[in-house]
Symmetry: C2
Subunit: 120 residues, 2 copies
């Protein structure tokens, strides 16, 4: 491929002014990438269900697995994804590890999410 444009639109009608305006106001690539990564973490039904469990109460891995009728391994893997993305935190108590939502931001996003889906 060449440097700038390849076989995109050779279209001549392109609205240069709009493109310039939009381009000027677009957030940085990196911000948009991080944002999509964040949404991606929420975009899995198992993880969403886990988050909603923790919305109600802190829980250990085994309890979540029991409640969601899934294997301990699957839940543990997903919890590690959630933790890596700072959506949950954990605290150890003997052999048991209790997970909970990381902060109020996560609560807010979940709250708004359900609202959006249930209303209208």
């Amino acid at each position: 491929m060449a440097e700038t444009e390849k076989n995109l639109c050779d279209y001549l009608h392109v609205h240069d002014q709009i493109i310039a305006d939009v381009n000027a106001q677009m957030p940085k690539e990196e911000v948009l990438f991080d944002l999509s990564e964040l949404f991606k973490v929420f975009g899995d039904s198992t993880r969403i269900r886990i988050l909603y469990c923790l919305f109600v109460s802190e829980m250990c891995v085994c309890d979540i697995a029991t409640l969601l009728n899934m294997t301990q391994s699957a839940i543990s893997h997903q919890l590690s994804v959630l933790k890596r993305n700072k959506l949950v935190k954990s605290r150890r108590e003997g052999k048991t590890v209790f997970y909970s939502l990381a902060d109020s931001h996560v609560r807010a996003m979940l709250d708004q999410g359900v609202e959006h889906v249930t209303e209208e």
Copy 2:
């Protein structure tokens, strides 16, 4: 597999009360599924970038493709996903189809998203 539980936790320590409480307060399966599907749509950097284009101005397929330096086909496919999920709407003007954000809800989610990612 049996009916209720299979080879989950045979763990005896399960916290029955917590599980009962959480189970009682969990939103319906369907709601959580729809919610994860919604987040999934936001969870792709191409779609996020398209949405942010439209956040600034309505645009036609070709303009978006030019701005994002991607093929017309790729953009068109993604727009169809966004439209199917009611995040964007379109209006035809001759040969050109202009896309824009579907409603203020979408704006709000994007706004909150960037805030969350950029701050802190």
